[in-house]
């Protein structure tokens, strides 16, 4: 399968077949054909005569999924735009003038496209993020008012109970009051939320499971006799369809080629590297993994850190310091915020995925300079995530790169959720948009989600990575990634790139995209308010009311579906949500079954707020 390996090398520099002749077929053409054989060649040839001159329908319709089994899951391939990377175009074919004035080295037009195709691809190049974007819907006013009143009543009663409890049940509240001259152990207001709100519904989180959490996970049932202060296992196991694990490509398996490779590695290398990377803990397996990851992502070099959170929190201080500016998205993960605060740089925040707000902010900070001295900033770095796990929104990368060219800042993209899950070859958010990864300075990702391993990586230019190898806190102080986990990374990466010679990786990626589209579309069709852009494997379903958080979680557990519910303070106060993480391991039957149950619970809890279309 030389062709597939070739096409999987670097996602951004992919050759799309020219219309007339090709020995390399690309399966993601928009055809009615089911099979992946060379019959598509003739179909490719004949399709140019009937190339779509109409623009793609804006609304997502289910029939388009059901009719064509080979539907493209990334819009960049939905138009066969015949884009060729500049370095790969033979000199004779380079056009003299470019139809695209702004982004002429991001996307490149071959000479032999028809005018209709060129119009289409120009249009495609211009309307990138807006195609997938689903605007966050507002709930009807009644729901919002009831949510505020709900919180108001909860807080009022919580405070009342605290006040009366401190008077009448002094022994139980001893840790919150001054006691024989000692200050209170815990500030009662700081812990108010934990004691009065989280404690009541604590059984919805941290549920103990047993076995490998693949598409079905076995939850150990537990009951509480004292209002969730303590739990007691009943001994019963609940088999639930697993929407709570970040198992995007289904690599959380106890059997299979990855597990076999890992077993061998334990025999060869043992279970620990034994030291830090900077001292004597670097093994050849680490270098191999770093090289492979760098090639996969499309950068020169990479470095691997043993913990996903620590990848951000130890790298950002090594990149920026005092006198620099970090601009981070409003809803960035706490690891990024941790690293940013640790670094000592100034931090500013812009509205989530809002490029207009970012532009205004950039104008303000660049014109003002450092606080008090107004000197120019040493460095401005913008940190965004590829896929935000709470909203399911994809970063607006094309606009961001346009801004980067204009304002000349550094860009750091955290692809924790998007690597492996987005893009035609699983190459992340750059692959998803068809943008060359050279435009992003630092690509960070984690292996926890799509690879079934642990830890994270930083990929960038060799110069930057060499500097990081010396200065990164985890390289100096933290233990190395253990050999079995590194082997899992290598094995799953190999499967994703098709190096084992099978279509396993391709199938997984395709299955995930199909599942993600299907699930989100069906939920929207049922009338739920669902955030998340088209194609995102994270599907948040809005609950709004705090009482519905626990009700939804418990009802779904009763019916055998395991989900994650999130509320305040991880999300804004009114938009608590249930988060479904669709996986390639889920079959269509699983999804249908789960959707039926979700609909049931949605009717029971009155969750179908969407205004009738």
């Amino acid at each position: 399968m030389a062709t597939t390996t070739n096409s999987l090398q670097v996602p951004g520099i992919e050759i799309q077949p020219p219309p007339i002749s090709s020995s390399h077929h690309h399966p993601q053409q928009k055809h009615q054909e089911k099979n992946d054989t060379t019959s598509t060649l003739s179909a490719t040839g004949s399709s140019t005569g009937t190339t779509r001159t109409t623009t793609r329908a804006r609304t997502f319709s289910l029939s388009s999924l059901v009719g064509k089994t080979r539907r493209a899951y990334s819009v960049s391939s939905a138009y066969p735009p015949k884009m060729i990377h500049p370095s790969l175009v033979p000199a004779s074919l380079k056009p003299q003038e470019n139809t695209l004035s702004v982004d002429n080295d991001v996307w490149f037009h071959a000479k032999h496209v028809t005018p209709a195709q060129r119009r289409n691809s120009v249009a495609a190049a211009h309307r990138k993020y807006e195609d997938f974007q689903q605007k966050m819907e507002e709930a009807p006013m009644f729901i919002l008012v009831s949510t505020y009143l709900n919180y108001f009543v909860l807080i009022l009663f919580g405070h009342l109970r605290d006040i009366l409890g401190k008077v009448f049940k002094r022994s139980e509240y001893a840790h919150l009051r001054t006691n024989q001259g000692y200050a209170p152990l815990v500030s009662d207001f700081d812990s108010f939320y934990t004691r009065r709100m989280y404690m009541r519904i604590r059984d919805c989180w941290n549920r103990p499971i047993t076995g490998v959490p693949t598409r079905i996970t076995a939850i150990l049932e537990r009951v509480s006799d004292d209002f969730n202060k303590t739990f007691r296992l009943t001994g019963r196991k609940i088999d639930a369809i697993n929407f709570a694990s970040y198992n995007y490509l289904g690599f959380a398996q106890a059997e299979g080629p990855c597990a076999d490779a890992v077993e061998e590695t334990v025999r060869d290398y043992g279970v620990s590297g034994g030291s830090t990377r900077a001292e004597c803990g670097s093994l050849d397996i680490h270098r191999e993994a770093e090289r492979k990851v760098a090639r996969f992502v499309g950068k020169e070099d990479a470095c691997i850190v043993s913990m996903g959170f620590a990848t951000n929190s130890t790298t950002i201080p090594a990149l920026v310091g005092k006198g620099c500016l970090i601009i981070s998205d409003e809803l960035n993960h706490s690891s990024i915020i941790f690293g940013a605060r640790l670094s000592g740089a100034s931090i500013r925040v812009f509205k989530h995925n809002n490029m207009g707000d970012l532009r205004n902010l950039l104008r303000e900070v660049i014109s003002q300079g450092q606080p008090r001295t107004h000197r120019p900033w040493k460095k401005i770095m913008i940190i965004v995530e590829g896929l935000y796990s709470m909203e399911g929104s994809v970063v607006n990368l094309p606009e961001l790169i346009k801004l980067k060219r204009e304002f000349k800042f550094y860009l750091y993209v955290d692809e924790a959720h998007s690597i492996g899950a987005l893009g035609e070859h699983g190459g992340g958010v750059c692959d998803f948009y068809g943008i060359n990864p050279k435009h992003v300075d630092i690509l960070m990702g984690t292996f926890t989600k799509s690879f079934g391993a642990a830890g994270g990586y930083i990929a960038g230019d060799k110069v930057v990575i060499d500097h990081l190898r010396l200065k990164n806190h985890s390289f100096c102080y933290a233990e190395t990634m253990t050999p079995p986990v590194t082997q899992q990374v290598l094995a799953s990466l190999g499967i994703m790139r098709g190096e084992d010679g099978t279509e396993n990786g391709r199938n997984r990626i395709r299955q995930l995209a199909d599942n993600a589209h299907y699930f989100a579309a069906r939920l929207r069709e049922m009338g739920f308010i669902v955030y998340g852009d088209e194609g995102s494997p994270v599907v948040p379903l809005l609950l709004f009311n705090p009482a519905k958080i626990s009700a939804f979680s418990r009802e779904m557990l009763k019916r055998g579906v395991a989900i994650c519910v999130v509320g305040y303070p991880a999300t804004p106060i009114i938009s608590s949500r249930a988060r479904f993480c669709v996986s390639a391991a889920h079959t269509r039957e699983d999804l249908d079954h789960a959707l039926k149950l979700i609909s049931e619970v949605g009717d029971l809890l009155m969750l179908k707020f969407k205004k009738a279309q």
């Binding site: 006013m141 919002l144 207001f189 939320y193 809803l331 915020i337 605060r341 500013r348 305040y568 804004p572």
Partner: protein, 166 residues
């Protein structure tokens, strides 16, 4: 922390690194409407009591609303969960709104609401002097607390901000 200036700089760092969900709800859709709705509810509650006069119910509504608003916005300090490593310690909700920026739309709204309620209650009490004084005192209290000059100011040591000593 070696100096007060560094202390303040670090607090700003912590405050600006992520949105403050404890205070950002006042800007969301439905928050203003809910405030007005609560006033309506309070009035209904007080009118339902048998043998109560309209003056008394309006006065009670005004009083309860102002007292409740004072406790919620100007008395309680900090945030009720441990997310920001003490960035908002000692700041009341009023001081946290919009990151301390004065004269925003939300602040104007929440200043206008007790004034409007006061005007309504004086109308319904037929401008009786005693009731006027009873209505005016809490209004004055709340309005003084909302003045920009009172940002982070604590009078007579009431509700003092403790400075973190490192």
């Amino acid at each position: 922390m070696s100096s007060i200036r560094e202390q303040k700089a670090h607090q700003t760092l912590d405050q600006s690194s992520m949105p403050n969900f404890n205070s950002s709800w006042v800007n969301y859709k439905g928050a203003w409407f809910t405030t007005l709705f609560i006033i309506v509810l309070l009035k209904t509650l007080f009118s339902v009591i048998p043998f109560i006069s309209s003056e008394a119910s309006w006065t009670l509504t005004n009083l309860t609303f102002n007292v409740g608003q004072y406790i919620m916005f100007h008395w309680v300090q900090g945030i009720p969960f441990e997310n920001h490593q003490g960035a908002y310690d000692g700041l009341t909700l009023w001081e946290q709104i919009d990151g301390g920026v004065q004269f925003t739309a939300t602040r104007k709204f929440f200043t206008a609401v007790p004034i409007a309620l006061f005007l309504l209650s004086t109308h319904y009490t037929h401008y009786n002097l005693v009731l006027l004084v009873i209505n005016f005192a809490p209004l004055l209290w709340v309005l003084v607390a909302k003045l920009p000059v009172m940002h982070r100011v604590r009078v007579f040591g009431i509700n003092k901000i403790d400075h973190v000593v490192d």
